[in-house]
């Protein structure tokens, strides 16, 4: 077991290094550098800028330097935002994204799973139909549509919540709901269908036949197995919620990481792009790793040796 974790850990680090490498060379492939502006920059200034950021070194040396920095968690300076390093940007933006992300995750888990279970237990009842209708709607509407709808209706027409920023506790409601909309619906659907499948299993019937209370049958016997596919989804989902927040941050004008990332992409701020990509990827890989561990704890049948 432990050797598996160690192996997974090293393979995760290896993956992150590969991602950093691919991203590094991908960004260097782009014609035109971070200092290419509309207005032609004089050659001397360009040379000085390149020297300042070591962009005049041979590509391989640049790569080695970058990797050296990466190992010590130094993602380098931003080329466009003066006086800021990529670490600063992440430090500044990540808490905002994380706050919304965590709230959304809590909402998804605390609403999506119970709703899915209730829907499965009351199969073909009006409640079930209503839940499935809402869930289908949630899966088909892009998050920016949900976000703009919330702004238009709840912030604009009704004036209940602020339409941008995060200055009051109420301001968190809009982004959280918009960010969780798709995943919430998906989790509810997934929980429902996997619960229905589990409820048909023989061991559930056996548990009922043994006279175990319905609450225990559902809560202890059925739920444990029904949640396995849900957990598989939730792990990568948390990372996806972070990337999905690009749109939400744009619509609600939040100072999160997504905004910096999109901005850096349009500005060709190499170090920021690479740094944030590596950060996201690392985050994603860690999440998937945690899911694997959670897996083995819930379902002992899953062997972690393969």
């Amino acid at each position: 077991m432990r050797s598996y974790y160690v192996k997974r850990f090293f393979s995760a680090i290896f993956t992150i290094l590969i991602i950093a490498t691919i991203t590094f060379f991908l960004m260097r492939m782009i014609p035109g550098g971070p200092f290419t502006r509309e207005r032609q920059v004089p050659d001397e200034i360009l040379a000085a800028l390149n020297a300042r950021y070591n962009l005049d070194d041979p590509l391989f040396i640049q790569y080695l330097n970058y990797m050296k920095g990466l190992v010590t968690f130094d993602l380098g300076p931003s080329f466009r935002i003066l006086g800021y390093s990529v670490n600063d940007l992440i430090r500044e933006g990540f808490p905002t994204s994380a706050k919304i992300g965590i709230l959304a995750t809590i909402l998804i888990v605390s609403v999506g799973i119970p709703v899915g279970i209730i829907s499965a237990l009351k199969q073909n009842s009006p409640i079930d139909y209503f839940v499935m209708f809402m869930a289908t709607l949630g899966v088909t509407l892009p998050s920016f549509v949900i976000a703009t709808f919330i702004i238009y209706f709840f912030a604009g027409q009704l004036g209940w919540i602020p339409s941008n920023g995060l200055n009051s506790p109420l301001a968190y409601i809009g982004p959280t709901i918009a960010l969780s909309g798709y995943s919430l619906s998906f989790v509810a659907r997934l929980t429902r269908s996997s619960m229905l499948e589990v409820l048909r299993q023989d061991y559930v019937r056996t548990a009922r036949a043994n006279g175990i209370s319905e609450f225990k049958v559902i809560g202890k016997h059925a739920l444990k197995n029904a949640l396995i596919p849900v957990i598989t989804y939730i792990g990568p989902m948390i990372a996806a919620i972070l990337t999905g927040s690009f749109v939400i941050e744009k619509v609600f004008a939040l100072p999160g990481m997504g905004g910096y990332f999109v901005e850096s992409v349009t500005n060709r701020d190499y170090t920021v792009i690479i740094g944030m990509t590596v950060f996201y990827a690392a985050f994603y890989i860690i999440m998937v790793f945690l899911v694997d561990i959670a897996y083995s704890m819930i379902d002992p049948r899953i062997k972690l040796s393969s």
């Binding site: 709607l137 892009p142 920016f144 703009t148 792009i273």
Partner: protein, 534 residues
């Protein structure tokens, strides 16, 4: 009952009475099962409608996706009209423009704002006519009635003027218009004809009502007498247009605070009163559907219906082509990995694992950025070919989506092939010496087609989704092209005032997602009935 009551039947008859049914092929059986699934059929019809909407739709609209009519920008699909005269209706836009419409909601033209009283927030509008005085309308118009002694007549344009006076001084009044004159139907006898002398003659302003409000008279500076007007007209062969009219319509946009109880904090309401020829129009006559632009227009006066239809082309083209690219890469990769097995399989699957552990959205974004500036060109036999040209166009999006999302497909195909390659018919094929390529393409892939098709149907909506997402953060197709994502993005800035601009592209995305999801679910059930869920 005796033996003679019975009769031997012929062999043919005996065979005939046996219950037989034509045997169905696998795909016929799938189709039969699919037809029974009502939701899947709704999905299938929905998909067909959306595809037709995209392909045929733009042919039937009179507009192009890039046609701009700035006068008709930001018009909603439904609006309120005021009846100002017998058959004349006006519609007041949210941008304080006045448009002339019919009772059925067809837009005729924009009525020009000729004067603004900024202090009292009163705007005066006058109807605009176009009179094209071109060489071909020049005629030798002989007057059909005798004209007064003081009248000055232009045989070139068929119009007679006479000096008249009003409070402001001498004006030129129209006393006669020839039935065939280009002014016929635009001006009437009795109207006055003023030319702002300091203006370029290609833009002559005609004000029909000299007794109008003081605001209008400020326009009638530098008036010219009849002779001067006729001289100016005669001298000109190519007057482009005239603005004709009077400030018939006054719109008072003065602010009025609402009752404090009725109004949300911080809000004031604008009180708008419309006055036509001094008479206040208190009630709007009707709420009609916009029959010129069924779904309204965007901020540049482009028809939203046409743009959503055009967006369907782009979005669906991206989705279909990206899915096919995924399909090709995924099938090739997956089938090689699955069929070869062993070390090759192991290595190929490690690569897939690594790709799978990357948040792919990021890579699509990165690829979009990289590809935007990439041009692949070659010079072959002295001729120059561009193989791939970046730019924020279709190719870039398709390439980025297609090259990243094949991993799931590869895994699926590999899993199928792993199971299928142990079957006897594969062994038989191998024994008679069929080549590996042929075994994969003729024997293995067709048999794995069921789950592959399901996965492809599911991939299309997610590609539509991703494309919309990319367009929304500004990495999509560039203007004036439009996909559903860019349309939604464009609508964002005017959301509170023009929500319909977002509604239509968003609804198109949602309907497409629903249709493909229903169809995909149905196909999955039809292809493998064992998987059906309760």
């Amino acid at each position: 009952m005796a033996n003679k009551d019975f009769e031997f039947i012929s062999r043919e008859e005996k065979l005939d009475s046996e219950q037989t049914r034509r045997s169905l092929t696998y795909w016929q059986d799938v189709w039969r099962r699919l037809k029974k699934n009502r939701l899947a059929m709704i999905g299938l019809i929905g998909v067909i409608i959306i595809v037709l909407f995209g392909i045929l739709g733009p042919i039937f609209t009179p507009y192009k996706y890039s046609d701009q009519v700035l006068d008709f920008s930001n018009l909603p699909p439904r609006f309120d009209i005021y009846n100002i005269a017998d058959d004349e209706y006006i519609f007041l836009t949210k941008e304080y423009r006045v448009l002339e419409t019919t009772s059925k909601g067809e837009l005729i033209s924009r009525i020009d704002n000729i004067h603004k009283d900024q202090v009292n927030k009163i705007y005066y509008f006058a109807k605009e006519y176009e009179v094209t005085l071109e060489a071909n309308t020049v005629g030798n118009y002989t007057p059909t009635e005798t004209l007064g002694a003081n009248a000055v007549y232009s045989t070139k344009w068929g119009i007679a003027l006479e000096d008249s006076t009003n409070a402001a001084g001498v004006i030129a009044q129209i006393v006669y218009i020839h039935p065939n004159s280009p002014f016929q139907g635009v001006l009437m006898e009795g109207d006055s004809f003023d030319i702002q002398s300091n203006q370029n003659l290609t833009e002559i302003m005609l004000l029909a009502d000299p007794n109008s409000t003081s605001s209008a008279s400020t326009l009638i500076e530098g008036r010219m007498g009849s002779q001067a007007v006729i001289d100016a007209l005669e001298a000109n062969n190519g007057v482009e247009y005239f603005v004709v009219g009077d400030p018939q319509i006054e719109v008072n946009f003065s602010y009025k605070l609402m009752d404090p109880e009725d109004r949300p904090a911080g809000y004031e309401d604008v009180l708008i009163t419309v006055t036509y020829e001094g008479k206040e129009l208190t009630e709007k006559s009707d709420t009609v559907s916009n029959s010129t632009y069924l779904w309204g227009t965007d901020s540049l006066g482009r028809d939203i219906l046409t743009r959503v239809m055009y967006g369907a082309r782009i979005s669906l083209a991206v989705a279909f082509v990206a899915t096919i690219v995924n399909f090709i890469i995924g099938i090739t990769y997956g089938s090689i990995s699955g069929y070869k097995g062993g070390g090759v399989d192991n290595f190929m699957m490690r690569v897939v694992d690594i790709i799978n552990s990357i948040p792919l959205t990021l890579y699509v974004i990165l690829l979009m950025v990289v590809l935007r500036d990439v041009v692949i060109d070659v010079t072959l036999f002295g001729r120059y070919f561009v193989i791939f040209k970046g730019g924020s166009g279709l190719g870039t999006i398709i390439f980025a989506l297609g090259s990243v999302y094949w991993v799931g497909m590869a895994r699926l195909v590999r899993g199928q092939i792993l199971g299928l390659k142990e079957q006897e018919y594969v062994l038989a094929a191998r024994t008679i010496g069929v080549s590996t390529t042929k075994i994969i393409t003729r024997h293995l892939v067709p048999n794995a087609m069921g789950p592959i098709i399901v996965s492809m149907t599911m991939m299309i909506p997610s590609a539509v989704f991703t494309e919309a997402f990319l367009s929304f953060i500004g990495l999509g197709v560039s203007a004036p092209q439009a996909s559903w994502g860019t349309l939604a993005n464009d609508a964002l800035s005017g959301l509170t005032t023009y929500p319909y601009q977002l509604f239509f592209p968003a609804a198109a995305i949602a309907v497409t997602m629903l249709a493909f999801n229903f169809l995909g679910d149905g196909l999955r059930d039809a292809l493998d009935p064992r998987l059906r869920k309760g």
